[in-house]
Symmetry: C2
Subunit: 279 residues, 2 copies
Amino acid sequence: MVEMKTIAESKCFEGTQWVLSHQSKYCACDMTFGIYVPEKAGSSKLPLIWYLSGLTCTHENAMVKSGIQRWASEKEVAVVFPDTSPRGEGVPDDPNFDLGQGAGFYIDSKKFPWEKNFQMWSYILKELPELIFSNFHLDEKKQSIMGHSMGGLGALNMAFRNPKVFKAVSAFAPISNPTSGIWGRKQFESYLGIESELWEEYDPSILLEKRGYPGSILIDQGTKDDFLDKLMPESLEKQVNARKQGNSFRYQEGYDHSYFFVSTFMKDHVFWHEKILNK
Amino acid sequence: MVEMKTIAESKCFEGTQWVLSHQSKYCACDMTFGIYVPEKAGSSKLPLIWYLSGLTCTHENAMVKSGIQRWASEKEVAVVFPDTSPRGEGVPDDPNFDLGQGAGFYIDSKKFPWEKNFQMWSYILKELPELIFSNFHLDEKKQSIMGHSMGGLGALNMAFRNPKVFKAVSAFAPISNPTSGIWGRKQFESYLGIESELWEEYDPSILLEKRGYPGSILIDQGTKDDFLDKLMPESLEKQVNARKQGNSFRYQEGYDHSYFFVSTFMKDHVFWHEKILNK
């Protein structure tokens, strides 16, 4: 069994907010993540929501800024907060904030110098679940995923390609059409190489159009988001609305890209996830 | 009228989270603060809660970590988040985290090199209110104050010495008896000079014993707080309990000193303040 190191353990809304680290085989470095486990009355396994963060974030941002623990505690669901990339001295980086450390884009890289460490897709889908489900009393059959910005992109891609694992996906201001946008083309070229079929495997607008998704989708996008030209919500909005699921792509009047926006709608998201997970 | 510069403006729980800066005459430098103003149905002036932060914090910590906006929005109260000290290149500092910038202790310094800038007592009680009440539609007659750690100390001192201004005071893990503790004696000696009557003006345990307080008090202290030896809650607990106000000094089992603790009890505090402010 893989050994984990406890970095921090804080009581929070009667449950426990853990920060843990472990040696990752996929990322070939030490990885840190947060996990919130509410106190629970019964003995049944708890559902698990994955929260993927955006550019420049670590495991910590959503953990301290989103207010998610209050709602997770109330609804008795656990939440895991993975890091956004491999990190450390031996890990390649880039001087720009939108490439390298803090900008893993939740993909498995194929290109030098990134491919040795930047395997966030496999890290989150294969390595971290093994670690989490063997150490916490959680229900593998009740998983869903959410994320913000680059993490919204990762959450949508993971759900659309793994509908049996994730019953529901929600996102705050996700990067929505990366094969067409500044946030996407640059990173895909660096991590995956020149434009190819691989790119489409990481574009939620294309995935949803081509494969559909049997689960539930909820997306919130602020209308005063400074990054609308990079997020490109329109194509995803079109695909989501074409599903006729009802009010699942919502523009929120006056909200920006910050955690002031995320925290405002977090209760909605957690309650929505829990309802689906416990259906 | 003093000019203010808008650093940031984000919609949050239907209201607005501002970050503003201005030239301070008391601190002789540019000062930044946050203020949250909820959206409001009627036209009456809103009550105002002051939130004072702890060591190493800026105006930002509680603003992004405490989750206070949700409750302030629900109860229609504004919240102001001052910085914890003067800052900048021309402002004296100390290599230790508990003295100098980020560690103003909310006192008016009398000693070189601090006295030119470190006038946080007057800044918060005289300069900032003038600025806030002339720019926002808030009710000067409905003010209360709260804080965390060093900010809890500041909040208690300000309330006890200004009971007509602050109808209520609450604190999370406040520095409670600074004239006897490591967090207090060191800073008082630097900022105020060798032990004197001045020190007692900044010690809430002594102030409450000597002067009493006609307002309401609520204090939460985690039992797993790593800084209990420096906070010294016992003397304050004794004074608060001697008032026989009921359950106003509460030990919270298992909680530490972090914002995971603060955010857990924030709803309680805001609801408690609002009830008193609108009585």
